[in-house]
Subunit: 270 residues, 2 copies
């Protein structure tokens, strides 16, 4: 298992690499994982989302427990929508309430798959090889917009707002997802705790099947869908998603008008 | 009015600029429209889609005539899905039937808006200024997949396949869309002929309202939705979409296994 992160350096450059003992061993990129030789202390770096996906494919109804709760049959092919690249933020960055939207905002703790190489019509074996590693995702939704129009469910709109796709803190390659649980805390209350092996389509099956539909590029992300326990977030509340072996992804919801500086001050005061 | 195109040169470089009298006057980029001084004959260049959108926002139910035909009320906010960047092809490139999909493939002739600058929470006036120009789009759909699953309409999947977003041949800046008609020919039969001023949301309104939902980046595209006359395409058939003042976008559907070389041979033989 290796842990991979992406940072902004003091001079504004973006650096990516393997993190070990407080140091970043820089690599050329996620699709060209060749060491540059540079070693940087992570203390002088600002963490970013661990990859910059061109697209995020987000699954619906991919856990047996949630399908049973919703009383829906499990699908025969992954059901997905797309979240735009602009919705991505990293660990610690604030989720912003959209200006002009006063409705319910919902968290969903999810396993994320990060694609390492271009991938189209891939077999399950080829798909497994195309997976660079795993990360954590909070797939945020403006829930009241989903069915606002009775003729067209607005999945892309409700889930596509800026800051509505929290990814991080790292990507772990060689991670054995089969034995892992995902835990979501809303402030200090546990709201989700589900085993990843309850998935309908495994990560390699997802990549293989969806690669029949579209071409994956390096850095693209699949949000594997969530299970039971989703709920709404109030301003000021922090959602923390943990998978042992990957880490914890924490993000706080802030009001539409709030500034990131005020958010940082509040966070520092806690 | 200026006409803008993007090409691949013989040495593999991508060049963008203003086209006039068979020459490309190269510009730095769409968001930095500064002339480089280079002037190239378009005869030695291979045309590409005129921009490389990070995302394509595709509208549903944006024409009064189609809403009336579908017996649906016109929406209060643009209804949209996202088509991935990988679905984009240019004029003359083949639309490929997805491997493993034997169902109906449908064309939709549409006006395309090309965004020129980053744009978020824009007023209608700011949105109008953020529009670089207009292009033509064939928004292709694997229609039988849309409602294959009764619990989740698969808009992104059905419209997201590689080659399912034809854009081109050029972008025209300063184009007066209000007086224009869009005509779609299926081989030599006219199938769509509708006035653009029947739109529910005008281009500037679309950019303004959708910029409340997500951030537009330079080169992003909005497919403005289609009107009456959509229909299915058979292998070997060519869809040609024309708006006077912008040009004609033609693309031929080829079988899943067919090669582009065979397509080019067939096209040359006609």
């Amino acid at each position: 298992m290796d842990t991979w992160m992406r940072f902004r350096s003091n001079d504004g450059d973006i650096v990516f690499g393997r993190v070990e003992g407080g140091y970043l061993h820089e690599y050329k990129s996620l699709d060209q994982p060749v060491p540059t030789g540079a070693v940087l202390s992570t203390r002088v770096l600002t963490p970013l989302a661990p990859c910059a996906p061109g697209k995020v494919v987000a699954l619906w109804n991919n856990y047996h427990a949630l399908a049973a709760k919703l009383d829906k049959p499990v699908p025969a092919h992954p059901l997905f929508l797309l979240k735009p690249a602009g919705s991505v933020i990293g660990a610690g960055e604030p989720i912003r309430r959209p200006a002009g939207y006063a409705g319910k905002i919902v968290y969903e703790g999810e396993l994320g798959i990060v694609i390492g190489r271009r991938c189209r019509n891939a077999s399950v074996e080829e798909a497994a090889d195309a997976i660079f590693g795993y990360t954590l995702i909070n797939d945020v939704t403006a829930a009241d917009l989903l069915n606002e129009n009775p003729h067209f469910p607005q999945w892309c709109r409700a889930k596509g707002f800026d800051t509505f796709c929290c990814i991080g803190p790292s990507i772990v390659s060689g991670f054995e997802w089969q034995q892992a649980h995902l835990v979501t805390m809303l402030d200090d209350v546990e709201r989700q705790n589900y085993p990843l092996d309850d998935m309908v389509f495994s990560p390699a099956e997802q990549v293989s099947l969806i690669s029949q539909d579209l071409t994956f590029e390096p850095g693209d992300v699949i949000a594997c869908g969530t299970s039971v326990g989703v709920g709404s977030i109030k301003e000021g509340a922090t959602v923390s998603i943990t998978i042992k072996g990957i880490g914890t992804l924490s993000n706080t919801l802030i009001a539409a008008g709030a500034t990131a500086a005020a958010h940082a001050e509040r966070a520092a005061a806690v």
